[in-house]
Symmetry: C2
Subunit: 363 residues, 2 copies
């Protein structure tokens, strides 16, 4: 299937477009590059992402055009490319799907040859300089064919996804937008709202911050401009999730105030929310896309010096233990920390014993 793509045109050589180009080049696909910003195309070419597209030149049969521009511009770009009969098939990679498809329909684009898609991959950086061939490796890549799309168009996009090493997830556009609202867009806004409370918190309060609030607010550090674009393109589904979260929090606050006034029955409401949280959290799939496995965390006291982690993982290696995850928990004010090493249950016993024998502090 993948062999069907001999020549691919990338329109928009930002992070996602250039990364796809690099992945395709590694698999021997001919890649043509286009961008309104000449410097961006040049940089992408210099990075080995392909050659600059010269629309006037003959003999450039393009199998697939990948439109990697902001969501608001996808449909007009598609129309323009189709007017010139640029490629056999077309896709885009914007992070929202219903809006570009609706707009393309309104503009009268040929929907038999167009399949919208969205790779679930990104970096905190942007632009062609941040691109990498393995950006999509093992990531989900949603594709949202409309009923009008031809089987060949779907196959062309599946070939692209396969060449980039991603996992195709076929899903209706509206379902896609609701899905990313609940697993990505709304959590981002919630993290921002929790972090916003820290702006006028006392220094003492910040001094009492632990790992929990760090985790909850990590993504709130993201670029507001980029996120405004994402949220705007998926406004209604995100609003629905935020309304539900806002309501749950308001009800929890009301229950806590009732509790403070001596109404013991209010505990039930809080317990229910906490329990729903446990259930929802448990539904997030673990590593490799399977159900969340029950890893065991081995905690090891480590010094804050070069070499400590190397020695720790050397021990894991020696006893054949695979590290599934690792988290460093710092000890504020002291040159010490705890490494939390997640391993399979069987391996935990092996690793703990091995570390004990070698004089490590495994509490």
């Amino acid at each position: 299937m993948a062999s069907d793509l001999r020549t691919v045109l990338i329109v928009g050589t930002g992070l996602i477009g250039t990364s796809a180009a690099l992945a395709l080049r590694q698999r021997g696909v001919r890649v043509l590059l286009a961008d309104r910003d000449e410097a961006a195309v040049r940089l992408a070419r210099e990075l080995g992402a392909g050659e600059e597209w010269q629309p006037e030149r003959e003999g450039q049969e393009i199998d697939l055009a990948v439109i990697a521009v902001p969501p608001a511009h996808v449909a007009t770009e598609l129309l323009e490319l189709q007017k010139r009969d640029t490629a056999r098939f077309y896709t885009d990679v914007a992070s929202v799907k219903a809006e570009p498809i609706d707009r393309a329909t309104q503009l009268g684009c040929d929907l038999t040859r167009y399949v919208a898609s969205h790779p679930l991959a990104g970096r905190e950086k942007s632009g062609p300089g941040a691109a990498r061939a393995d950006l999509f490796l093992g990531r989900p890549w949603a594709l949202c064919p409309t009923p009008a799309a031809s089987a060949e168009a779907v196959e062309a996009v599946l070939a692209l996804i396969e060449l980039c090493g991603a996992n195709p997830v076929q899903v209706d556009a509206a379902d896609h937008d609701r899905a990313v609202a609940v697993v990505s867009h709304a959590p981002h806004v919630a993290a921002s709202a929790v972090a916003a409370r820290l702006t006028d918190a006392s220094d003492v309060a910040l001094g009492l911050a632990g790992q929990g609030v760090r985790d909850v607010t990590r993504i709130a550090g993201g670029d507001p401009g980029l996120w405004l674009g994402i949220l705007s393109g998926n406004a209604t589904p995100v609003a629905e999730v935020l309304e539900a979260v806002s309501r749950d929090l308001a009800e929890a606050a009301t229950a806590l105030r009732a509790l403070a006034d001596g109404d013991g029955t209010a505990t039930n409401e809080i317990t229910q929310l906490l329990k729903r949280g446990v259930t929802g959290h448990g539904r997030i799939p673990g590593k490799h896309g399977g159900p969340a496995p029950a890893y065991v965390v081995v905690q090891v006291v480590i010094g804050d010096r070069p070499g400590q982690l190397a020695r720790l993982f050397q021990v894991c290696d020696e006893v054949g233990v695979n590290v599934e995850d690792v988290r460093l928990e710092h000890a504020p004010g002291l040159p010490l920390g705890i490494a939390e090493v997640s391993v399979q249950p069987d391996a935990a016993v092996v690793l703990t014993e091995a570390l004990h024998e070698r004089g490590w502090q495994v509490p």
Copy 2:
């Protein structure tokens, strides 16, 4: 100062009480153990946390009694101990502070000899079996002396904190409760509310989950019973934070709906919330309690086999680079991942070059 504590009584041999006992034993302090649950005392003793308290025996002069029972029982326990003139000074370690102090005042406890405190440390497990001597190492430990407290009582609690290796943070009880509401208790409820949305999300949606939602909801996996107790004891301050977060999210939802209806001015409100989130997130202190440093993240492609991390950290060691933080980003569906290694800006160049030279994929 620390030498003043020769004998300490621990009332309540759960996780916190037993961990304090173990830390004190390591520093040569005599520790007496008490708990209504005989099995818990026995286990703590067998773990080397001290000897069982025998109130009838003479000659047991106790310098400090540490009350490590649930918040709702602190004041009655204090009154009981003081009636028998058990110790020279008293403290408790509950995670809320205003309520136990108010109750102790109402009950007519001797407040000159009592200083409430709260170590900011915990584990996902509970009970004496989960205790460890280094639980408090480098952690903040709040103490909240009332105006009535004697200087000697404050010194006794400071000595306890020092012996446990924690950092004392002196703070008014009401300020403490507001602080933990904003940096710990309310973020927990917010994480639960975001995770609760996942309970009825589609499998497809869960399949599109990335690292962001995993981080935001991690603490939502905590024990609902334990958290109900914490939230109940700090109900009003937590309610205040939750109301503010709920309001911000409701306003963001309203702005997004206006945007969907074509009102472009609504973007301003969303941008403001995202920007406040960035500012608040930036206020969280970094490692070692200082301001969050600007570490540089070096991303390295690693295989999912034993030994890969060992070899990676071996390279860090060889070139003298200190790893400030590490995060594994998994590639769902593939035996590959990205290790994100945080290092000082200078060290990033050194490490990247060293890894390149040794054939590592550093995108």
